[in-house]
């Protein structure tokens, strides 16, 4: 017997995931056209690996395949990872990363909705810790032709010193260790900088933001997390930049570099592993931005969003528990 309510809004998990995938399309277009077209190949590899991994675990767990495969959540994880990884990462590394995300992080905790950590970010961190050399080889935008990129992805020579470059964040970070170097001197000498951040890469940021706005408009995500994340990142980087512009990059640089925009709209907003209460979302996203900035500026890694997300994932129960919204009627009789 079915109980009330007997009517339902035509919403589905599949629809939510599809919207996220749609929102990623502008960024994929920019990525493929401005930086490395091989990202399309990576997306395909990651998608296949994710679906295959998901199917394998479901089979082992004795669960039906169709509902879990068709909810597209594995595809979202796969796409996010493919966009986070360096585009010339060998195919087996992409597959390994995706499998870590799907099998170890998602299914070992019970599958969709049960994982306390963001699968894509755990996989990203695991890969950067396990293969630091591979994970820090980024092609300079537009310097490799598609065949070379494809060759690198599908295997082959990895003597890359000549053709790879550090990311903008990495260049600034390592450059500042040289005595006398300032942010300005580093940005003016390196050929890899554009207007505000890495050449080519800086155009990804607005593309991600565009997708994020689409998600906001569709009501898939709420304004809390992106606003708190970007606001905090801008505020704290501005604070340091204003005190010492020679040794701290500008807020604009921070917002346009690395995983800031991707994180703000697609990573931090992951509902499963993130905070859920309105106030909790603000605290969660703001703390991620704070930790990410600290890692970027003072830590051992050039980019800190992934580690920050994981650190805050651990705090989610604490945040949620202490930010429960006021329940209807529990204010007393204070009529406005």
């Amino acid at each position: 017997m079915i109980n009330s309510p007997y009517i339902r809004k035509p919403a589905s998990v599949q629809g939510v995931m599809l919207a996220v995938l749609t929102a990623l399309i502008p960024a994929i277009i920019v990525y493929a056209s401005q930086i490395a077209a091989v990202v399309l190949v990576n997306l395909a590899i990651a998608t296949i690996a994710a679906l295959a991994g998901e199917a394998l675990v479901l089979k082992l767990r004795g669960r039906p395949l169709a509902p879990a495969l068709s909810d597209l959540s594995a595809v979202v994880t796969a796409w996010l990872l493919a966009l986070c990884f360096p585009p010339i990462l060998p195919w087996w590394a992409t597959v390994l990363g995706v499998l870590i995300a799907i099998i170890a992080v998602k299914h070992l905790y019970g599958g969709l909705g049960q994982n306390p950590f963001n699968p894509a970010m755990v996989a990203y961190c695991a890969m950067i810790v396990a293969f630091p050399a591979l994970m820090s080889q980024w092609p300079a935008a537009g310097q490799l032709d598609f065949a070379t990129q494809l060759g690198l992805v599908l295997g082959g020579a990895r003597e890359l010193d000549a053709i790879t470059s550090a990311t903008a964040l990495d260049t600034i970070k390592t450059g500042l260790r040289t005595a006398g170097a300032t942010v300005q001197s580093i940005m003016s000498q390196g050929g890899n900088f554009g207007l505000v951040s890495g050449r080519g890469w800086e155009w990804l940021a607005p593309a991600y933001a565009l997708g994020g706005l689409y998600l906001l408009a569709r009501g898939i995500i709420t304004w809390h997390m992106p606003a708190a994340f970007l606001g905090t990142l801008a505020a704290i980087s501005a604070a340091f930049w204003l005190t010492d512009p020679a040794h701290y990059a500008s807020p604009l640089f921070h917002l346009a570099s690395g995983g800031a925009m991707l994180g703000a709209f697609f990573i931090v907003t992951d509902p499963v592993s993130g905070a859920t209460t309105p106030r909790g979302k603000l605290i969660f996203a703001a703390c991620i931005a704070l930790v990410a900035y600290i890692i970027r500026s003072f830590g051992a890694f050039p980019e800190g969003v992934a580690f920050a997300v994981l650190l805050l994932n651990i705090c989610v129960p604490l945040i949620d528990m202490n930010t429960q919204p006021r329940v209807f009627g529990h204010r007393g009789d204070k009529a406005r």
Partner: protein, 549 residues
């Protein structure tokens, strides 16, 4: 009077489907062949039966006396003969049966004598007793006795009349307000008089312009402090607490009554019933019911209480592909397990459902904590947290997260992209918590009684020993006097055993006597008496079963 509107958080906007049934005037349903009037009109209490089979009753005759503080009276809905007092299924999700009075109408529909009540000549208490006698309860669905709600006190500032009717498909209040606006407002004035409210606000969702117009016309002569207020169409604006919030800004917490906050709320149907009860002395014997959904002739009908749904449905003509029937609205109603259930005071709508109109829910997927439910919840709860806790049977945590503030409006399940039957989990958890509370009370009571019994036995033993010792001392003293040796103490158990054996023998005799039902040797008088007693016992027993703990 200009009323500032407030808003509540959350809410959903399902398709309203009001037009199907709102276009035609209220028709009076023909007299049914049989009326099954449950003595239990709500789940709160059962009325005591006042009639017996074979008895002739008139329309409006008192057939059930409400018992306890929450009881209300039950009346015959038409004139006729009581044919049976037996258990019939009731309109409840459990599908359980309840004791009902079955009346065969005589077709005359003859009223019992009834007169109006002049409020100016009676005290408030007498007026409330009058309403109780007329069996007036809330007609919005919950069936809470009106006199109890009115009895709360007089420090009321605002009387809210609920004409929001936010559930999709239902239009009975809409039609009632369009056609009987003066009656509804007359009832509202009586209610206002009884609670001494300063102002009256009639809240009607703005998707019912005709009803708003009719009510405004009717209210135009009633002074400045009576206002008909259109409220935004947003389910569940018709929830009592939500409507009060929208109209007055007051939030009434769970477990509290509006009286404490100077607000009281009644349904328009209730106001109409109060009007009939006071102005004409008519008990509540009929109500307006919407028949809609997958039927040929949707509309509203004035239906006698006790009319079985099967007979009622024939008026609307359900289509062939109808697969189930829903009593109440699609958001909070219940699926009928039997079409023999009767219309009760709380029945506002019967929807014929077909797979096309109400598709079966798609397969359930895991919760992804997307928070859509939290954004839709009008009680500002975190439904997915409640779901996790209820599902894990972690009831303590569920209560900590305010499970009992949930009004089961269904908004969360309506929006859930994983199509989880969230409300089912809350109902389950609430029932389980109540059951545990009952069990805990029972076990506390048992522990206390067990410990007291042990204490009593200990005390009795001590007293006995003391007595024996005293006696022994006495005997010894006597013996010492007489110089005789003490006799061995008599076997204490012996006489008792003998007694039991004797009783056993007697019982065996008795049983032997009873077994063949040896009544031949008795006089006609005695036989008649036995039959009488048997009949009474028969009558009592079913009720016993219903009341069993």
């Amino acid at each position: 009077m200009i009323t500032r509107l407030f808003s509540f958080k959350g809410g959903v906007k399902p398709e309203s489907h009001k037009n199907e049934s709102s276009g035609t005037p209220i028709l009076t349903a023909p007299l049914p062949k049989r009326l099954v009037i449950p003595l239990r009109q709500s789940i709160r209490s059962t009325a005591r039966c006042l009639v017996e089979p074979g008895q002739k009753v008139l329309k409006g005759e008192h057939i059930g006396e409400g018992e306890g503080g929450l009881g209300t009276s039950v009346h015959a809905s038409t004139s006729g003969t009581v044919v049976e007092i037996a258990s019939y299924p009731m309109a409840h999700a459990s599908g359980l049966e309840t004791l009902s009075v079955v009346i065969e109408p005589d077709g005359e529909d003859r009223w019992i004598d009834h007169t109006s009540l002049d409020l100016r000549t009676v005290s408030r208490e007498e007026a409330l007793a009058w309403l109780r006698g007329c069996g007036i309860v809330g007609m919005g669905g919950a069936g809470f006795p009106t006199h109890v709600k009115l009895g709360g006190g007089r420090g009321i500032d605002t009387l809210v009349i609920n004409g929001a009717e936010c559930e999709p498909w239902i239009t009975c209040d809409d039609r009632l307000m369009r056609e009987r606006a003066p009656d509804v407002l007359s009832g509202a004035m009586i209610l206002r008089e009884l609670i001494g409210a300063k102002r009256v606000l009639v809240g009607i969702e703005d998707n019912k312009p005709e009803a708003i117009a009719a009510m405004q016309t009717a209210a135009s002569g009633l002074g400045d402090d009576v206002a008909v207020v259109p409220v935004p169409t947003l389910y569940p604006a018709g929830g009592e607490k939500q409507l009060i919030r929208v109209l007055t800004g007051v939030e009434i917490p769970q477990g509290k009554l509006g009286t404490d906050f100077g607000v009281q709320c009644f349904n328009v149907g209730t106001a109409n019933a109060v009007h009939r009860a006071i102005r004409f002395g008519e008990p509540l014997v009929s109500r307006v019911v919407t028949l809609t959904g997958n039927v040929a002739r949707p509309g509203n009908y004035e239906v006698l209480l006790g009319t079985q749904v099967s007979e009622l449905l024939a008026l609307a003509g359900p289509k062939a592909d109808t697969d189930r029937y829903i009593m109440g609205g699609p958001m909070m109603g219940t699926e009928l397990q039997s079409l023999s259930v009767p219309v009760t005071k709380g029945t506002n709508c019967i929807i014929a459902a077909s797979p096309a109109l109400f598709p079966p829910p798609p397969p359930e997927l895991p919760c992804i904590r997307c928070g859509a439910c939290a954004r839709a919840c009008p009680a500002d709860l975190q439904p997915f947290e409640l779901y996790w806790f209820s599902r894990a049977k972690n009831f303590g945590k569920a209560q900590e997260y305010h499970l009992f503030d949930c009004i089961e409006c269904g908004c969360c399940a309506f929006v859930c992209p994983s199509r989880i039957p969230l409300v089912d989990y809350y109902r389950f958890a609430k029932g389980e918590i109540w059951a545990r509370e009952r069990e805990r009370q029972a076990s506390d009571q048992a522990r206390e009684r067990f410990e007291f019994r042990n204490y009593r036995q200990e005390r009795e033993k001590e007293e006995k020993a003391a007595k024996l010792a005293a006696k022994a001392a006495e005997t010894r003293a006597k013996l010492a006097e007489s110089g005789e040796a003490p006799a061995p103490p008599a076997e204490a158990e012996d006489p008792k055993k003998a007694l039991v054996a004797a009783a056993l023998a007697r019982a065996k005799q008795q049983q032997a006597a009873v077994m063949p039902k040896n009544t031949d040797g008795l006089s006609a008088d005695v036989q008649a008496e036995i039959a009488d007693i048997e009949a009474r016992r028969e009558k009592l027993n079913p009720q016993d079963a219903d009341k069993a703990p």
